[in-house]
């Protein structure tokens, strides 16, 4: 039996999803469920002076309308923030239904309960809320000035200051003696994660038994269970949280949301099932946004272009409140603003501020795309200043291969890396030199379509996370993962994981890992997940952690199974364990071909327990909770090729080359899929997507009519390749790949745009680089030169 790990096995998940058998949250039949609809503030900042629900209550099917005051006693505390990044961090009390003030457009001010989906929606407009509108705080720097304070109890809009400055003197000295310095300001616009499935919740109570089953479209059923117990007043052992099929998350379902607490409270109060499904425009307002930072980025370099210091300050938009890990998102990038370059001096500071906008939180990459963007744009700026190529500036600064494991200036240990060959491969695939020559020829010929090439090389930290490192960052939980592997009495296998997939293909990949370990077919392995009654322990799925952390727990649990089976086999065959060989699912004894026992036969022996070694427990299973000793550090080189029509400003992405290194790959088909999707999301930040707010704090583009998630027609096919530098951090040698595409692609595209417009003296365009912005920049540059 040849190993399946490393093969392009098609996914086990697919037939169910391809035929409509998949059950997403809104697909669940919940007999007798009342439908909820949220009454949301149309003002970004307003006092609530009165709520009159009488008209709504007269509508057909409407049974209740709850205000914040009505539900105040339903929760034992405010909404949780699990990451108080400093002791003094400002964290305003935030209840699921606003009590006296709405702080962003979409803040919930009342809850309608009705017999049907349509009746609940009908009644929302009939709830009369009196508001006393206040001036909205929208701009980050304006917020910092505290001209208008959003949360009275805090007295300021600043949430926190956080710093990572290992040696201030070293930074000052490097800048003082620098031959070249770069000082740039980059703006990470707000993004709407836009998973194709909006959120939804259904709560089924068992009023007399006191138990509650919470079905919710979440990435984190396990964390949610703990948080619901802590805030909803339901004891944890009476809560079961189930994530059904989940239609994408990208971090936006890594949260504890008001609607989850509200639906639970209503089901508890009314003693009937209750459910809510989010609309798309509602999602634009009510589900967290990503990014939202102003980055002041500085490099110091010597005469050869060797970077001697990085100094960066972030102004980070928290939005109106702190959600689950809002304040920690910038910190996930804090260690990576020197990228994959060997930089001796480093200063990172971040200020978090509140605005009257939807709260921000984790969005694919969470902190690392922002860091990578800043360093990769700044490296191009340095290369421009020095008159050398973007490839050359990178080669001069890469952490050398013989430096691994590498102690970074920020205090991390980069586990493994081999950067220069990876870049060389990408340059070759991109036909870099040929294309640069073509670019020059087209320019010389006066072509009105400019070609641009952009490089982004990245390293990221993922596989979140060593629990002790999380403790040092004040994060409120650990970063381990749990697994159980059971060989059932009749010989098939169940794997239980605390990882919670929502498109990543875990059922396939975990089956592959276990099939190889136990010598069984992948069809004989079933992966159970996403239900706290089935998988009671877990830390869920985010931060490209599921394989590196959860997969390791599975491999170790499978090893326990093999070890136990070996002990039973030795006992029953009356040989020493050392005389047994295990291959293809069968234990054999050297020199005694008649003596063998299969893992399936041993599982049955373990089940009957008629003849086990003294003191051995029955049943053949393994169980592991594994806390990783380190992050994993995938890396890669991406090259974007754009064409810009200088007469219209339209940017077209015409080619995209990605050479990633995520160590050993379990399933290259799935790895490539992750990279493709990540690239598309990162390209979209560069070219199309932005949550646009007006000066009054109104989100102008919450729906898919005007928030430009790319279609197939805007994107090319991508050219992918890889290098393989195994991680020493886990037994598979694997690194995460879920976020790499998003981390790498945004600066690659923006560097390509700057390259295309270099003839106009344009070095930057605000993201997204819309035709209008590009056209205006070209026009302004012509004016300047005229």
């Amino acid at each position: 039996m040849s190993p399946v790990v490393g093969t392009r096995m098609v996914r086990k998940e697919d037939p169910v999803l391809l035929t409509g058998e998949g059950r997403f949250i809104d697909d669940l039949a919940i007999p007798g469920a009342r439908w909820l609809a949220m009454v949301r503030s149309p003002y970004a900042h307003a006092r609530i002076t009165g709520i009159d629900a009488s008209e709504a209550l007269d509508l057909p099917g409407v049974t209740h309308v709850f205000t914040g005051a009505d539900l105040r006693d339903a929760w034992t505390g405010p909404m949780p923030c699990a990451w108080p990044v400093t002791e003094t961090m400002g964290n305003p009390e935030h209840f699921p239904v606003a009590l006296d003030k709405a702080c962003y457009v979409g803040d919930i001010v009342a809850v309608v309960v009705a017999d049907s989906r349509y009746e609940a929606a009908d009644a929302v407009g009939a709830v009369v809320v009196d508001y006393d509108p206040l001036e909205a705080v929208v701009d980050l720097e304006d917020s910092l000035a505290d001209r208008v304070v959003i949360h009275d109890a805090l007295g300021t809009n600043k949430s926190y200051d956080w710093a990572l400055i290992p040696d201030q003197d070293a930074v000052d000295a490097a800048f003082a003696s620098a031959a070249h310095t770069v000082k740039e300001r980059y703006v990470q616009q707000r993004l709407i994660p836009a998973a194709m499935e909006t959120r939804g919740v259904a709560v089924v109570p068992q009023p007399h038994g006191g138990e509650y089953t919470v079905f919710t479209a979440t990435q984190i059923p396990h964390i949610l269970k703990v948080m619901l117990a802590a805030t909803a007043g339901v004891p944890e052992h009476k809560l079961r949280v189930v994530a059904p099929a989940v239609g994408g998350g990208f971090g936006s379902k890594l949260d504890v949301y008001a609607e989850e607490l509200i639906t639970l409270a209503v089901a508890r109060e009314l003693r009937v099932p209750a459910r809510w499904t989010e609309g798309r425009a509602e999602n634009g307002h009510a589900t967290i946004h990503g990014r939202g930072q102003i980055q002041d980025m500085e490099l110091a370099a010597d005469a050869d272009g060797k970077v001697t210091a990085v100094r960066v300050h972030l102004l980070a938009d928290m939005g109106a409140y702190l959600q689950l890990i809002t304040p920690g998102i910038p910190l996930l990038g804090a260690f990576l603003y020197h990228g994959l370059y060997d930089v001796p001096a480093y200063s990172f500071t971040c200020t978090g501020v509140f605005t009257n906008k939807t709260p921000t939180d984790a969005y694919r990459g969470a902190g690392r795309p922002e860091a990578t963007y800043a360093i990769e744009r700044a490296m191009d700026a340095l290369a421009r200043q020095m008159g050398i190529g973007p490839d050359e500036i990178r080669r001069r600064n890469f952490i050398p291969t013989d430096a691994f494991p590498y102690n970074s200036v920020g205090g991390l240990v980069f586990d493994s890396g081999d950067y220069a060959p990876n870049l060389a491969k990408a340059l070759e695939l991109a036909r870099w030199d040929e294309r640069k020559a073509d670019q020059a020829a087209r320019r010389a010929a006066g072509d009105t379509v400019e070609v641009g090439l952009g490089i982004s090389t990245y390293v990221e930290m993922c596989g979140l996370a060593p629990s002790r490192v999380l403790a040092s960052l004040n994060y409120g939980a650990g970063g381990w993962e749990s697994a159980q592997v059971r060989v059932l009495p009749t010989g098939t296998v169940q794997v239980v994981t605390g990882a919670t997939p929502h498109g990543q293909g875990h059922e396939t990949s975990w089956s592959m890992l276990v099939a190889d370990k136990l010598g069984v077919g992948t069809d004989d392995v079933e992966v159970l997940h996403s239900d706290t009654a089935i998988s009671p322990l877990g830390m869920d799925t985010y931060g490209s952690r599921s394989l590196a952390v959860g997969g390791t727990a599975i491999v170790m649990a499978a090893d326990q199974v093999v070890d136990k089976a070996r002990a039973i086999a030795a006992h029953q065959l009356e040989v020493s364990e050392d005389d047994l060989t295990f291959a293809d699912g069968v234990f054999t004894v050297a020199g005694s071909p008649d003596k063998e026992l299969s893992i399936q036969a041993l599982a049955f022996q373990a089940f009957t327990a008629h003849n086990l070694p003294d003191g051995m427990e029955p049943n053949l299973h393994g169980s592991v909770s594994w806390d990783p000793p380190n992050f994993v550090f995938p890396f890669g080189s991406h090259i974007a090729v754009v064409e810009i029509d200088t007469e219209t400003g339209m940017v077209a992405l015409v080619d995209y080359i990605a050479v990633d290194d995520c160590g050993n790959q379990v399933n290259p088909l799935i790895v490539e899929g992750q990279v493709h999707g990540g690239i598309a999301q990162g390209v979209a930040q560069a070219l199309w997507e932005e949550a646009v707010y007006d000066e009054d704090g109104n989100l102008r583009n919450p729906s898919f009519l005007d928030y430009l998630v790319p279609t197939a027609a805007e994107l090319p096919s991508f050219t992918l390749d890889h290098t393989t530098t195994p991680s020493p951090t886990n037994p598979m040698g694997a690194k995460g790949i879920g976020e790499a595409g998003t981390i790498a692609s945004t600066p690659a595209v923006m560097n390509a745009i700057a390259d295309a417009l270099s003839g106009y003296g344009i070095t930057d365009i605000a993201m997204p680089a819309t035709p209008e912005r590009v056209w205006q920049a070209i026009r302004a540059s012509k004016g300047a030169s005229a």
């Binding site: 098609v10 996914r11 998940e13 697919d14 037939p15 169910v16 999803l17 391809l18 035929t19 409509g20 058998e21 998949g22 059950r23 997403f24 809104d26 697909d27 039949a29 989906r117 349509y118 836009a194 998973a195 194709m196 499935e197 909006t198 099929a245 989940v246 239609g247 994408g248 990208f250 609309g279 798309r280 425009a281 929502h502 498109g503 990543q504 293909g505 088909l669 799935i670 490539e672 899929g673 493709h676 999707g677 990540g678 690239i679 598309a680 999301q681 729906s703 898919f704 009519l705 998630v709 279609t711 197939a712 027609a713 994107l715 096919s717 991508f718 595409g741």
Partner: protein
């Protein structure tokens, strides 16, 4: 209003509100939840079904407009245990991840291939641009549709 719609070969007669969307009729009244709702502006295509063989976003159509017509949803595409060639190609080429856009995407592709049995990559990209996917970057979806076309011709 009483309407009669043939869905995946079975006739369903029901009394529906005039404002009821076809997608809610399929999902909530008939119980075929494979057709998903991804937006509220007819932008995403997750709810795509075939109405008399043509792809239609079932959130843009009222249930009463489907009276007397034949609707094919994702549940009706496979031939028993054998998936339709487009479904099989999506699995073979990893054309889906979370699977939420997939039913609509597959039906849009089926409809596209009916009209263009031998499409170019650009034809496919333009042909499915009414259907959004957030997971795949479309790379493998396009590959799957082209492969299904090749297999069919």
């Amino acid at each position: 209003m009483e309407i009669s719609v043939t869905v995946n070969g079975s006739v369903h007669t029901s009394d529906v509100e005039p404002r009821r969307l076809l997608v809610h009729h399929l999902r909530d009244d008939i119980g075929l939840t494979g057709t998903n709702v991804g937006c509220d502006t007819s932008s995403c295509g997750a709810c795509t079904v075939l109405v008399d063989g043509e792809s239609v976003k079932s959130c843009t159509m009222l249930a009463v407009q489907a009276d007397g017509l034949e609707v094919t949803t994702i549940e009706g595409l496979a031939d028993g245990a054998t998936m339709h060639p487009v479904q099989a190609a999506f699995q073979e080429h990893h054309g889906l991840q979370c699977g939420f856009c997939t039913p609509g995407m597959v039906l849009a592709a089926v409809s596209l291939l009916e009209e263009h049995p031998n499409p170019s990559e650009q034809d496919v990209r333009e042909g499915i641009e009414g259907n959004l996917c957030r997971c795949t970057g479309y790379h493998n979806i396009v590959k799957a549709v082209l492969a299904a076309a090749g297999g069919a011709s």
